[in-house]
Protein backbone atom coordinates (compact mmCIF):
# COMPACT_ATOMS: atom_id res chain seq x y z
CA UNK A 1 0.00 0.00 0.00
CA UNK A 2 2.67 2.44 -0.94
CA UNK A 3 2.06 5.63 -2.79
CA UNK A 4 -1.09 7.68 -2.72
CA UNK A 5 -3.39 6.79 0.11
CA UNK A 6 -7.13 7.08 0.44
CA UNK A 7 -8.18 10.09 2.48
CA UNK A 8 -11.36 12.03 2.86
CA UNK A 9 -10.62 14.54 0.14
CA UNK A 10 -6.98 14.20 -0.63
CA UNK A 11 -5.93 15.65 -3.97
CA UNK A 12 -5.05 12.33 -5.53
CA UNK A 13 -3.06 13.76 -8.38
CA UNK A 14 -0.32 14.83 -6.00
CA UNK A 15 2.92 12.99 -6.65
CA UNK A 16 3.27 9.90 -4.47
CA UNK A 17 5.17 10.75 -1.30
CA UNK A 18 7.81 8.10 -1.94
CA UNK A 19 8.76 9.80 -5.21
CA UNK A 20 9.33 13.13 -3.55
CA UNK A 21 13.04 13.73 -3.29
CA UNK A 22 13.76 17.36 -2.58
CA UNK A 23 16.48 19.24 -4.34
CA UNK A 24 19.29 20.80 -2.37
CA UNK A 25 18.36 24.22 -1.06
CA UNK A 26 20.53 27.17 -1.90
CA UNK A 27 18.85 29.23 -4.57
CA UNK A 28 19.32 32.96 -4.22
CA UNK A 29 16.60 34.63 -2.17
CA UNK A 30 15.84 37.26 -4.76
CA UNK A 31 15.37 34.70 -7.55
CA UNK A 32 12.86 32.80 -5.46
CA UNK A 33 10.96 36.00 -4.63
CA UNK A 34 10.77 36.97 -8.29
CA UNK A 35 9.55 33.54 -9.26
CA UNK A 36 7.03 33.65 -6.43
CA UNK A 37 5.61 36.98 -7.60
CA UNK A 38 5.25 35.62 -11.14
CA UNK A 39 3.68 32.32 -10.03
CA UNK A 40 -0.05 32.58 -10.62
CA UNK A 41 -1.42 29.93 -8.25
CA UNK A 42 1.01 30.94 -5.50
CA UNK A 43 -0.10 34.58 -5.71
CA UNK A 44 -3.85 33.86 -5.94
CA UNK A 45 -3.61 31.26 -3.17
CA UNK A 46 -1.50 33.57 -1.03
CA UNK A 47 -3.95 36.45 -1.35
CA UNK A 48 -6.99 34.27 -0.57
CA UNK A 49 -5.25 32.67 2.41
CA UNK A 50 -4.15 36.05 3.70
CA UNK A 51 -7.72 37.28 3.36
CA UNK A 52 -9.06 34.46 5.55
CA UNK A 53 -6.28 34.84 8.13
CA UNK A 54 -6.85 38.61 8.27
CA UNK A 55 -10.58 38.02 8.79
CA UNK A 56 -9.79 35.67 11.68
CA UNK A 57 -7.32 38.12 13.24
CA UNK A 58 -9.67 41.06 12.73
CA UNK A 59 -12.44 39.20 14.56
CA UNK A 60 -10.32 39.11 17.72
CA UNK A 61 -10.35 42.92 17.98
CA UNK A 62 -13.34 44.06 15.93
CA UNK A 63 -16.56 42.82 14.38
CA UNK A 64 -19.27 45.09 12.93
CA UNK A 65 -21.71 43.79 15.59
CA UNK A 66 -21.15 41.56 18.61
CA UNK A 67 -21.22 38.06 17.08
CA UNK A 68 -23.07 36.52 20.03
CA UNK A 69 -25.71 39.24 20.42
CA UNK A 70 -29.21 37.93 19.78
CA UNK A 71 -31.62 40.53 18.42
CA UNK A 72 -34.93 38.88 17.54
CA UNK A 73 -36.46 42.19 16.49
CA UNK A 74 -34.09 42.24 13.54
CA UNK A 75 -34.06 38.56 12.58
CA UNK A 76 -33.62 37.50 8.93
CA UNK A 77 -33.05 41.08 7.77
CA UNK A 78 -31.91 41.44 4.17
CA UNK A 79 -28.53 43.04 3.46
CA UNK A 80 -28.53 46.73 4.39
CA UNK A 81 -26.18 49.53 5.38
CA UNK A 82 -26.53 48.42 9.00
CA UNK A 83 -26.05 44.70 8.39
CA UNK A 84 -24.00 44.32 5.20
CA UNK A 85 -25.03 40.74 4.54
CA UNK A 86 -28.18 40.78 6.67
CA UNK A 87 -28.96 38.88 9.86
CA UNK A 88 -29.69 35.25 10.72
CA UNK A 89 -32.70 33.68 12.38
CA UNK A 90 -31.59 34.96 15.80
CA UNK A 91 -30.90 38.46 14.48
CA UNK A 92 -27.13 38.03 14.61
CA UNK A 93 -25.05 39.93 12.07
CA UNK A 94 -23.87 37.62 9.26
CA UNK A 95 -20.61 39.46 8.61
CA UNK A 96 -19.64 39.22 12.27
CA UNK A 97 -20.53 35.52 12.34
CA UNK A 98 -18.43 34.87 9.22
CA UNK A 99 -15.43 36.69 10.74
CA UNK A 100 -15.60 34.73 13.99
CA UNK A 101 -16.25 31.57 11.96
CA UNK A 102 -12.94 32.14 10.17
CA UNK A 103 -11.26 32.18 13.57
CA UNK A 104 -12.92 28.88 14.55
CA UNK A 105 -11.88 27.21 11.29
CA UNK A 106 -8.30 28.39 11.52
CA UNK A 107 -7.99 27.50 15.19
CA UNK A 108 -9.25 23.94 14.63
CA UNK A 109 -7.14 23.62 11.49
CA UNK A 110 -3.90 24.84 13.07
CA UNK A 111 -4.17 22.63 16.15
CA UNK A 112 -5.30 19.55 14.20
CA UNK A 113 -2.59 19.88 11.55
CA UNK A 114 -0.10 20.65 14.34
CA UNK A 115 -0.99 17.36 16.05
CA UNK A 116 -0.75 15.45 12.78
CA UNK A 117 2.51 17.09 11.75
CA UNK A 118 4.29 16.74 15.09
CA UNK A 119 3.26 13.15 15.75
CA UNK A 120 3.37 11.99 12.13
CA UNK A 121 6.71 13.59 11.27
CA UNK A 122 8.38 12.39 14.49
CA UNK A 123 7.21 8.81 13.95
CA UNK A 124 8.19 9.00 10.28
CA UNK A 125 11.69 10.22 11.13
CA UNK A 126 12.10 7.49 13.72
CA UNK A 127 10.89 4.87 11.24
CA UNK A 128 13.35 6.05 8.58
CA UNK A 129 16.27 6.27 11.01
CA UNK A 130 15.73 3.01 12.89
CA UNK A 131 14.45 0.74 10.10
CA UNK A 132 13.80 -2.91 10.92
CA UNK A 133 10.91 -3.99 13.10
CA UNK A 134 10.43 -0.51 14.55
CA UNK A 135 9.73 0.87 11.08
CA UNK A 136 7.44 -2.08 10.33
CA UNK A 137 5.50 -1.56 13.56
CA UNK A 138 5.09 2.18 13.03
CA UNK A 139 3.92 1.73 9.45
CA UNK A 140 1.41 -1.01 10.36
CA UNK A 141 -0.04 1.21 13.10
CA UNK A 142 -0.40 3.87 10.44
CA UNK A 143 -2.34 1.40 8.29
CA UNK A 144 -4.93 0.87 11.03
CA UNK A 145 -5.69 4.54 11.35
CA UNK A 146 -6.26 4.70 7.60
CA UNK A 147 -9.33 2.54 8.06
CA UNK A 148 -10.93 5.49 9.85
CA UNK A 149 -11.61 8.59 7.79
CA UNK A 150 -11.84 11.74 9.96
CA UNK A 151 -15.61 11.48 9.89
CA UNK A 152 -15.67 7.97 11.34
CA UNK A 153 -13.23 8.77 14.13
CA UNK A 154 -15.23 11.91 14.95
CA UNK A 155 -18.41 9.84 15.07
CA UNK A 156 -16.82 7.39 17.49
CA UNK A 157 -15.39 10.15 19.66
CA UNK A 158 -18.66 12.07 19.63
CA UNK A 159 -20.59 8.93 20.56
CA UNK A 160 -18.55 8.43 23.73
CA UNK A 161 -17.15 11.86 24.63
CA UNK A 162 -19.87 14.09 23.25
CA UNK A 163 -19.71 16.51 20.36
CA UNK A 164 -17.60 19.64 20.51
CA UNK A 165 -14.62 21.55 19.26
CA UNK A 166 -12.15 19.32 21.12
CA UNK A 167 -13.73 16.21 19.60
CA UNK A 168 -13.36 17.58 16.09
CA UNK A 169 -9.78 18.74 16.71
CA UNK A 170 -8.85 15.31 18.07
CA UNK A 171 -10.59 13.44 15.24
CA UNK A 172 -9.05 15.55 12.48
CA UNK A 173 -5.64 15.53 14.17
CA UNK A 174 -5.54 11.74 14.60
CA UNK A 175 -6.61 11.32 10.99
CA UNK A 176 -3.71 13.51 9.82
CA UNK A 177 -1.02 11.49 11.62
CA UNK A 178 -0.70 8.61 9.12
CA UNK A 179 -0.58 11.04 6.18
CA UNK A 180 2.38 12.92 7.64
CA UNK A 181 3.90 9.64 8.81
CA UNK A 182 3.96 8.22 5.29
CA UNK A 183 5.20 11.31 3.56
CA UNK A 184 7.94 11.85 6.16
CA UNK A 185 9.12 8.26 6.07
CA UNK A 186 9.15 8.18 2.28
CA UNK A 187 11.11 11.36 1.79
CA UNK A 188 13.40 10.74 4.78
CA UNK A 189 14.31 7.33 3.35
CA UNK A 190 15.32 9.04 0.11
CA UNK A 191 17.58 11.43 2.04
CA UNK A 192 19.13 8.58 4.02
CA UNK A 193 20.23 7.05 0.71
CA UNK A 194 22.13 10.17 -0.37
CA UNK A 195 25.92 10.49 -0.37
CA UNK A 196 26.12 13.39 2.05
CA UNK A 197 24.34 11.33 4.68
CA UNK A 198 26.76 8.49 4.06
CA UNK A 199 29.60 10.99 4.46
CA UNK A 200 28.12 12.18 7.75
CA UNK A 201 27.87 8.59 8.96
CA UNK A 202 31.46 7.91 7.98
CA UNK A 203 32.42 11.05 9.89
CA UNK A 204 30.94 9.39 12.97
CA UNK A 205 27.69 11.32 13.43
CA UNK A 206 24.92 9.43 15.23
CA UNK A 207 21.49 8.70 13.79
CA UNK A 208 19.79 11.34 15.93
CA UNK A 209 22.26 14.06 14.86
CA UNK A 210 21.99 13.12 11.20
CA UNK A 211 18.18 13.20 11.45
CA UNK A 212 18.20 16.68 12.98
CA UNK A 213 21.08 18.18 10.97
CA UNK A 214 20.64 16.59 7.54
CA UNK A 215 17.36 14.75 7.09
CA UNK A 216 14.90 17.18 8.66
CA UNK A 217 16.16 20.35 6.89
CA UNK A 218 16.04 18.54 3.57
CA UNK A 219 12.46 17.32 3.91
CA UNK A 220 11.13 20.50 5.51
CA UNK A 221 9.86 21.93 2.23
CA UNK A 222 7.84 18.78 1.53
CA UNK A 223 6.34 18.93 5.01
CA UNK A 224 5.41 22.60 4.60
CA UNK A 225 3.67 21.92 1.28
CA UNK A 226 1.83 18.94 2.76
CA UNK A 227 0.83 20.90 5.87
CA UNK A 228 -0.71 23.61 3.67
CA UNK A 229 -2.78 21.05 1.78
CA UNK A 230 -3.77 19.23 4.98
CA UNK A 231 -4.81 22.57 6.45
CA UNK A 232 -7.32 22.89 3.60
CA UNK A 233 -8.61 19.37 4.30
CA UNK A 234 -8.87 20.16 8.01
CA UNK A 235 -11.03 23.19 7.27
CA UNK A 236 -13.30 21.05 5.08
CA UNK A 237 -13.50 18.38 7.77
CA UNK A 238 -14.22 20.93 10.51
CA UNK A 239 -17.02 22.41 8.41
CA UNK A 240 -18.52 18.96 7.78
CA UNK A 241 -18.34 18.00 11.46
CA UNK A 242 -19.88 21.22 12.72
CA UNK A 243 -22.52 21.00 9.97
CA UNK A 244 -23.43 17.54 11.29
CA UNK A 245 -23.48 18.89 14.84
CA UNK A 246 -20.46 16.84 15.94
CA UNK A 247 -17.98 19.70 15.94
CA UNK A 248 -18.08 23.25 17.25
CA UNK A 249 -21.19 23.79 19.33
CA UNK A 250 -23.42 26.87 19.49
CA UNK A 251 -23.23 29.66 20.45
CA UNK A 252 -19.61 29.58 19.12
CA UNK A 253 -20.05 30.57 15.45
CA UNK A 254 -18.67 28.25 12.79
CA UNK A 255 -19.19 28.09 9.05
CA UNK A 256 -20.51 24.53 9.06
CA UNK A 257 -23.00 25.34 11.83
CA UNK A 258 -24.18 28.41 9.90
CA UNK A 259 -24.90 26.19 6.89
CA UNK A 260 -26.86 23.80 9.05
CA UNK A 261 -28.93 26.68 10.47
CA UNK A 262 -29.47 28.08 6.99
CA UNK A 263 -30.71 24.81 5.54
CA UNK A 264 -34.06 24.98 7.34
CA UNK A 265 -34.60 28.50 5.96
CA UNK A 266 -33.82 27.77 2.31
CA UNK A 267 -37.23 28.98 1.12
CA UNK A 268 -37.23 32.18 3.20
CA UNK A 269 -33.58 33.30 3.07
CA UNK A 270 -31.65 31.32 0.48
CA UNK A 271 -28.66 33.67 0.64
CA UNK A 272 -27.92 32.57 4.22
CA UNK A 273 -26.86 29.22 2.77
CA UNK A 274 -24.56 30.84 0.24
CA UNK A 275 -22.23 33.02 2.36
CA UNK A 276 -20.73 30.39 4.71
CA UNK A 277 -20.13 28.03 1.79
CA UNK A 278 -18.34 30.76 -0.11
CA UNK A 279 -16.18 31.39 2.95
CA UNK A 280 -15.24 27.70 3.21
CA UNK A 281 -14.54 27.45 -0.52
CA UNK A 282 -12.38 30.60 -0.42
CA UNK A 283 -10.27 29.26 2.44
CA UNK A 284 -9.86 25.80 0.91
CA UNK A 285 -9.19 27.06 -2.61
CA UNK A 286 -6.65 29.56 -1.27
CA UNK A 287 -4.75 26.96 0.73
CA UNK A 288 -4.80 24.42 -2.11
CA UNK A 289 -3.44 26.94 -4.60
CA UNK A 290 -0.87 28.13 -2.08
CA UNK A 291 0.24 24.53 -1.52
CA UNK A 292 0.55 23.94 -5.29
CA UNK A 293 2.50 27.17 -5.66
CA UNK A 294 4.85 26.36 -2.79
CA UNK A 295 5.47 22.92 -4.26
CA UNK A 296 6.50 24.48 -7.58
CA UNK A 297 8.65 27.13 -5.93
CA UNK A 298 10.46 24.77 -3.57
CA UNK A 299 11.17 22.31 -6.32
CA UNK A 300 10.17 22.91 -9.92
CA UNK A 301 10.80 19.25 -10.74
CA UNK A 302 7.86 18.27 -8.55
CA UNK A 303 5.45 20.59 -10.32
CA UNK A 304 2.40 18.87 -11.66
CA UNK A 305 1.35 18.54 -15.22
CA UNK A 306 -1.15 21.34 -15.65
Amino acid sequence: MNGVQPTAAMPFDAPPPEAAVPSKPGRSGRGVLQRALRHRSFMIGGVLTLLVISAALLSTIWTPWPAYEIDLAHKLNPPSAMHWLGTDVLGRDIVSLLLVGARTSILVGVIAVGIGLLAGASLGLIAAARKGWIEELIMRLGDFTFAFPALLSAIMLAAVAGAGMVTSIAAIGIFQIPIFLRITRGSANAIWAREFVLAARVAGKGKFRITIEHVLPNILSILIVQATIQFALAILAEAALSYLGLGTQPPQPSWGRMLNDAQSLLFQSPLLAVYPGLAIATAVLGLNLLGDGLRDLFDPRLSRER
Binding site: T7, I155, L244, A262, Q263, A273, A281
Partner: protein, 316 residues
Amino acid sequence: MTVFILRRFVTLIATLAGASLIIFLVLDALPGNAAEMLMGADSSPEALHAMTIKLGLDQPLIVRYLRWIGGLLIGDMGTSYSYGTPVAELIAERLVLTIPLAVMAMLLTVVLALSAGVYTAANHNKMGDVGVMALTQFGIAIPNFWFAILLILLFSVKLQWLSAGGFAGWDEGIVSGVRSLLLPAISLAAVQAAILARVTRSAVLEVLRDDFVRTARAKGLTRRQVLWGHVLRNAMIPVMTVMGMQFANLLAGTIVIENVFYLPGLGRLIFQSIANRDLIVVRNCVMLLAAMVVIVNFVVDVLYAAIDPRIKASEL
Protein backbone atom coordinates in the same frame (compact mmCIF):
# COMPACT_ATOMS: atom_id res chain seq x y z
CA MET B 1 1.46 -13.03 -7.71
CA THR B 2 -0.10 -15.66 -5.41
CA VAL B 3 2.46 -14.81 -2.75
CA PHE B 4 1.58 -11.15 -3.12
CA ILE B 5 -2.15 -11.78 -2.77
CA LEU B 6 -1.58 -14.04 0.23
CA ARG B 7 0.56 -11.40 1.92
CA ARG B 8 -1.97 -8.69 1.22
CA PHE B 9 -4.72 -10.97 2.54
CA VAL B 10 -2.87 -11.53 5.82
CA THR B 11 -2.45 -7.74 6.13
CA LEU B 12 -6.16 -7.34 5.40
CA ILE B 13 -7.14 -9.70 8.19
CA ALA B 14 -4.69 -8.06 10.60
CA THR B 15 -6.01 -4.60 9.72
CA LEU B 16 -9.61 -5.71 10.21
CA ALA B 17 -8.72 -7.27 13.56
CA GLY B 18 -6.86 -4.12 14.63
CA ALA B 19 -9.69 -1.87 13.49
CA SER B 20 -12.28 -3.96 15.34
CA LEU B 21 -10.16 -3.80 18.49
CA ILE B 22 -9.86 -0.02 18.26
CA ILE B 23 -13.60 0.36 17.66
CA PHE B 24 -14.42 -1.95 20.54
CA LEU B 25 -12.04 -0.23 22.95
CA VAL B 26 -13.19 3.27 22.04
CA LEU B 27 -16.93 2.56 21.98
CA ASP B 28 -17.23 -0.11 24.62
CA ALA B 29 -14.47 0.20 27.16
CA LEU B 30 -13.73 3.91 27.38
CA PRO B 31 -17.11 5.33 28.40
CA GLY B 32 -17.11 3.19 31.54
CA ASN B 33 -20.70 2.17 31.81
CA ALA B 34 -22.85 1.91 28.70
CA ALA B 35 -25.87 1.08 30.85
CA GLU B 36 -25.59 4.44 32.59
CA MET B 37 -25.20 6.22 29.26
CA LEU B 38 -28.31 4.48 28.02
CA MET B 39 -30.52 5.05 31.05
CA GLY B 40 -29.25 8.42 32.23
CA ALA B 41 -27.23 9.27 35.32
CA ASP B 42 -30.27 9.63 37.59
CA SER B 43 -31.71 6.12 37.18
CA SER B 44 -31.92 3.86 40.23
CA PRO B 45 -28.97 1.57 41.07
CA GLU B 46 -31.19 -1.54 40.81
CA ALA B 47 -32.35 -0.64 37.31
CA LEU B 48 -28.77 0.14 36.33
CA HIS B 49 -27.59 -3.21 37.65
CA ALA B 50 -30.34 -5.05 35.79
CA MET B 51 -29.42 -3.24 32.59
CA THR B 52 -25.72 -3.98 33.09
CA ILE B 53 -26.48 -7.69 33.31
CA LYS B 54 -28.91 -7.54 30.40
CA LEU B 55 -26.23 -5.95 28.21
CA GLY B 56 -23.64 -8.46 29.36
CA LEU B 57 -21.48 -5.63 30.69
CA ASP B 58 -20.63 -7.59 33.85
CA GLN B 59 -18.50 -9.90 31.72
CA PRO B 60 -14.76 -9.26 31.31
CA LEU B 61 -13.68 -7.09 28.35
CA ILE B 62 -12.06 -9.92 26.43
CA VAL B 63 -15.18 -12.08 26.64
CA ARG B 64 -17.34 -9.23 25.39
CA TYR B 65 -14.94 -8.54 22.52
CA LEU B 66 -14.75 -12.18 21.45
CA ARG B 67 -18.52 -12.53 21.73
CA TRP B 68 -18.94 -9.53 19.42
CA ILE B 69 -16.44 -10.82 16.86
CA GLY B 70 -17.88 -14.34 17.03
CA GLY B 71 -21.33 -12.88 16.39
CA LEU B 72 -20.05 -10.80 13.48
CA LEU B 73 -18.60 -13.88 11.81
CA ILE B 74 -22.02 -15.57 11.75
CA GLY B 75 -23.87 -12.36 10.89
CA ASP B 76 -25.23 -11.71 14.38
CA MET B 77 -24.63 -8.11 15.42
CA GLY B 78 -26.75 -8.18 18.54
CA THR B 79 -29.97 -6.32 19.25
CA SER B 80 -30.46 -2.57 19.12
CA TYR B 81 -31.45 -1.04 22.49
CA SER B 82 -33.57 1.69 20.98
CA TYR B 83 -35.23 -0.11 18.07
CA GLY B 84 -35.51 -3.48 19.78
CA THR B 85 -34.70 -5.25 16.50
CA PRO B 86 -31.55 -7.15 15.44
CA VAL B 87 -28.83 -4.69 14.35
CA ALA B 88 -28.06 -6.75 11.23
CA GLU B 89 -31.66 -6.32 10.01
CA LEU B 90 -31.55 -2.63 10.76
CA ILE B 91 -28.33 -2.18 8.78
CA ALA B 92 -29.55 -4.33 5.86
CA GLU B 93 -32.66 -2.13 5.60
CA ARG B 94 -30.51 0.99 5.37
CA LEU B 95 -27.98 -0.45 2.93
CA VAL B 96 -30.79 -0.80 0.38
CA LEU B 97 -30.50 2.98 0.08
CA THR B 98 -26.83 3.62 0.79
CA ILE B 99 -25.34 1.10 -1.66
CA PRO B 100 -27.39 2.25 -4.70
CA LEU B 101 -26.57 5.85 -3.78
CA ALA B 102 -22.85 5.14 -3.64
CA VAL B 103 -22.97 3.13 -6.89
CA MET B 104 -24.90 5.89 -8.69
CA ALA B 105 -22.43 8.48 -7.44
CA MET B 106 -19.50 6.33 -8.53
CA LEU B 107 -20.92 5.85 -12.05
CA LEU B 108 -21.48 9.60 -12.39
CA THR B 109 -17.96 10.23 -11.12
CA VAL B 110 -16.38 7.88 -13.64
CA VAL B 111 -18.36 9.20 -16.63
CA LEU B 112 -17.68 12.85 -15.76
CA ALA B 113 -14.05 12.34 -14.83
CA LEU B 114 -13.01 10.19 -17.78
CA SER B 115 -14.59 12.48 -20.35
CA ALA B 116 -13.18 15.61 -18.72
CA GLY B 117 -9.76 14.01 -18.20
CA VAL B 118 -9.37 12.71 -21.75
CA TYR B 119 -10.77 15.94 -23.24
CA THR B 120 -8.37 18.17 -21.32
CA ALA B 121 -5.36 15.96 -22.04
CA ALA B 122 -6.19 15.89 -25.75
CA ASN B 123 -6.45 19.69 -25.70
CA HIS B 124 -3.41 20.21 -23.49
CA ASN B 125 -2.83 23.90 -22.65
CA LYS B 126 -5.67 25.10 -24.87
CA MET B 127 -8.61 27.16 -23.63
CA GLY B 128 -10.82 24.15 -22.93
CA ASP B 129 -8.10 22.49 -20.85
CA VAL B 130 -7.41 25.57 -18.76
CA GLY B 131 -11.12 26.18 -18.24
CA VAL B 132 -11.96 22.64 -17.14
CA MET B 133 -8.89 22.47 -14.90
CA ALA B 134 -9.88 25.73 -13.19
CA LEU B 135 -13.33 24.22 -12.69
CA THR B 136 -11.83 21.15 -11.03
CA GLN B 137 -9.88 23.39 -8.61
CA PHE B 138 -13.23 24.82 -7.50
CA GLY B 139 -14.72 21.33 -7.39
CA ILE B 140 -12.03 20.20 -4.96
CA ALA B 141 -12.47 23.29 -2.76
CA ILE B 142 -16.24 23.05 -2.41
CA PRO B 143 -17.61 21.00 0.52
CA ASN B 144 -20.00 18.36 -0.85
CA PHE B 145 -22.72 19.23 1.64
CA TRP B 146 -22.64 22.86 0.53
CA PHE B 147 -22.84 21.80 -3.10
CA ALA B 148 -25.81 19.67 -2.09
CA ILE B 149 -27.52 22.68 -0.51
CA LEU B 150 -26.87 24.74 -3.65
CA LEU B 151 -28.42 21.98 -5.77
CA ILE B 152 -31.48 21.98 -3.50
CA LEU B 153 -31.67 25.77 -3.86
CA LEU B 154 -31.60 25.52 -7.66
CA PHE B 155 -33.61 22.38 -8.43
CA SER B 156 -36.02 22.26 -5.51
CA VAL B 157 -36.50 25.85 -4.36
CA LYS B 158 -36.18 27.78 -7.64
CA LEU B 159 -37.10 25.33 -10.42
CA GLN B 160 -39.11 22.91 -8.24
CA TRP B 161 -38.14 19.96 -10.43
CA LEU B 162 -37.05 17.58 -7.68
CA SER B 163 -37.90 17.21 -4.01
CA ALA B 164 -35.56 18.72 -1.43
CA GLY B 165 -35.08 15.41 0.34
CA GLY B 166 -36.63 12.23 1.65
CA PHE B 167 -36.96 8.79 0.10
CA ALA B 168 -40.21 6.92 -0.39
CA GLY B 169 -38.55 3.53 -0.85
CA TRP B 170 -38.07 1.27 -3.85
CA ASP B 171 -41.68 0.02 -3.64
CA GLU B 172 -42.77 3.27 -5.29
CA GLY B 173 -40.91 2.23 -8.42
CA ILE B 174 -37.38 2.49 -9.66
CA VAL B 175 -37.92 5.85 -11.38
CA SER B 176 -39.15 7.54 -8.24
CA GLY B 177 -36.32 6.03 -6.22
CA VAL B 178 -33.66 7.13 -8.68
CA ARG B 179 -35.21 10.62 -8.79
CA SER B 180 -34.87 10.92 -5.00
CA LEU B 181 -31.25 9.82 -5.17
CA LEU B 182 -30.30 11.98 -8.15
CA LEU B 183 -29.34 15.20 -6.35
CA PRO B 184 -27.53 13.35 -3.53
CA ALA B 185 -25.57 11.32 -6.08
CA ILE B 186 -24.63 14.43 -8.07
CA SER B 187 -23.41 16.24 -4.97
CA LEU B 188 -21.31 13.23 -3.98
CA ALA B 189 -19.96 12.79 -7.49
CA ALA B 190 -19.02 16.40 -8.25
CA VAL B 191 -16.09 16.62 -5.83
CA GLN B 192 -14.83 13.12 -6.54
CA ALA B 193 -15.08 13.70 -10.30
CA ALA B 194 -12.99 16.86 -9.98
CA ILE B 195 -10.24 14.86 -8.29
CA LEU B 196 -10.47 11.90 -10.67
CA ALA B 197 -10.50 14.15 -13.75
CA ARG B 198 -7.14 15.60 -12.68
CA VAL B 199 -5.70 12.11 -12.19
CA THR B 200 -7.04 10.95 -15.57
CA ARG B 201 -5.59 14.01 -17.31
CA SER B 202 -2.13 13.50 -15.77
CA ALA B 203 -2.17 9.79 -16.60
CA VAL B 204 -3.30 10.32 -20.20
CA LEU B 205 -0.69 13.05 -20.74
CA GLU B 206 1.94 10.68 -19.40
CA VAL B 207 0.94 7.88 -21.79
CA LEU B 208 0.64 10.28 -24.76
CA ARG B 209 4.40 10.76 -24.57
CA ASP B 210 5.08 7.03 -25.04
CA ASP B 211 6.58 5.75 -28.28
CA PHE B 212 3.77 3.34 -29.03
CA VAL B 213 1.37 6.27 -29.41
CA ARG B 214 3.49 7.64 -32.24
CA THR B 215 3.70 4.15 -33.76
CA ALA B 216 -0.08 3.74 -33.63
CA ARG B 217 -0.60 7.11 -35.33
CA ALA B 218 2.08 6.27 -37.90
CA LYS B 219 0.38 3.05 -38.89
CA GLY B 220 -2.70 5.06 -39.78
CA LEU B 221 -5.04 4.96 -36.77
CA THR B 222 -7.06 8.12 -36.22
CA ARG B 223 -6.42 10.40 -33.27
CA ARG B 224 -9.68 9.35 -31.68
CA GLN B 225 -8.90 5.62 -32.09
CA VAL B 226 -5.51 6.04 -30.49
CA LEU B 227 -6.85 8.19 -27.68
CA TRP B 228 -9.77 6.02 -26.58
CA GLY B 229 -8.41 2.64 -27.68
CA HIS B 230 -4.73 2.70 -26.78
CA VAL B 231 -4.00 5.64 -24.56
CA LEU B 232 -6.93 5.45 -22.16
CA ARG B 233 -6.46 1.73 -21.63
CA ASN B 234 -2.84 2.27 -20.64
CA ALA B 235 -3.71 5.24 -18.48
CA MET B 236 -6.33 3.23 -16.56
CA ILE B 237 -3.94 1.77 -14.00
CA PRO B 238 -3.44 4.88 -11.85
CA VAL B 239 -7.01 5.95 -12.59
CA MET B 240 -8.41 2.66 -11.30
CA THR B 241 -6.35 2.81 -8.12
CA VAL B 242 -7.80 6.18 -7.32
CA MET B 243 -11.30 5.02 -8.28
CA GLY B 244 -11.11 2.25 -5.70
CA MET B 245 -10.06 4.65 -2.99
CA GLN B 246 -12.81 7.02 -4.02
CA PHE B 247 -15.47 4.37 -3.56
CA ALA B 248 -14.40 4.16 0.06
CA ASN B 249 -14.58 7.96 0.27
CA LEU B 250 -18.03 7.94 -1.26
CA LEU B 251 -19.25 5.55 1.42
CA ALA B 252 -17.99 7.92 4.12
CA GLY B 253 -19.39 10.87 2.17
CA THR B 254 -22.87 9.33 2.16
CA ILE B 255 -22.99 9.86 5.94
CA VAL B 256 -22.97 13.62 5.39
CA ILE B 257 -25.08 13.71 2.25
CA GLU B 258 -27.79 11.46 3.69
CA ASN B 259 -28.13 13.97 6.48
CA VAL B 260 -28.46 16.87 4.03
CA PHE B 261 -31.27 15.15 2.11
CA TYR B 262 -32.88 13.36 5.09
CA LEU B 263 -32.35 9.97 3.44
CA PRO B 264 -32.94 6.93 5.67
CA GLY B 265 -29.59 5.28 4.90
CA LEU B 266 -26.66 4.03 6.96
CA GLY B 267 -25.44 7.58 7.68
CA ARG B 268 -28.77 8.66 9.16
CA LEU B 269 -28.89 5.44 11.18
CA ILE B 270 -25.51 6.24 12.75
CA PHE B 271 -26.64 9.72 13.73
CA GLN B 272 -29.96 8.61 15.13
CA SER B 273 -28.13 5.94 17.11
CA ILE B 274 -25.69 8.48 18.55
CA ALA B 275 -28.66 10.64 19.57
CA ASN B 276 -30.37 7.57 21.13
CA ARG B 277 -27.10 6.47 22.77
CA ASP B 278 -27.52 3.18 20.98
CA LEU B 279 -23.82 2.33 21.06
CA ILE B 280 -24.24 -1.23 19.78
CA VAL B 281 -25.64 0.12 16.50
CA VAL B 282 -22.92 2.79 16.24
CA ARG B 283 -20.23 0.17 16.88
CA ASN B 284 -21.46 -2.19 14.15
CA CYS B 285 -22.07 0.60 11.62
CA VAL B 286 -18.58 2.04 12.15
CA MET B 287 -17.09 -1.45 11.86
CA LEU B 288 -19.01 -2.04 8.64
CA LEU B 289 -17.80 1.23 7.09
CA ALA B 290 -14.21 0.68 8.22
CA ALA B 291 -14.32 -2.87 6.84
CA MET B 292 -15.63 -1.61 3.49
CA VAL B 293 -12.80 0.94 3.29
CA VAL B 294 -10.18 -1.72 4.06
CA ILE B 295 -11.68 -4.38 1.76
CA VAL B 296 -12.10 -2.01 -1.19
CA ASN B 297 -8.45 -1.02 -0.82
CA PHE B 298 -7.45 -4.67 -0.72
CA VAL B 299 -9.37 -5.42 -3.92
CA VAL B 300 -7.79 -2.39 -5.62
CA ASP B 301 -4.31 -3.51 -4.61
CA VAL B 302 -4.91 -6.99 -5.98
CA LEU B 303 -6.45 -5.67 -9.21
CA TYR B 304 -3.56 -3.28 -9.58
CA ALA B 305 -1.10 -6.16 -9.36
CA ALA B 306 -3.20 -8.27 -11.74
CA ILE B 307 -3.37 -5.54 -14.37
CA ASP B 308 0.17 -4.30 -14.21
CA PRO B 309 2.68 -7.10 -14.77
CA ARG B 310 5.48 -4.73 -13.76
CA ILE B 311 4.40 -5.08 -10.16
CA LYS B 312 6.18 -8.04 -8.66
CA ALA B 313 5.49 -9.35 -5.21
CA SER B 314 9.03 -8.45 -4.27
CA GLU B 315 8.38 -4.77 -4.83
CA LEU B 316 5.50 -4.55 -2.43
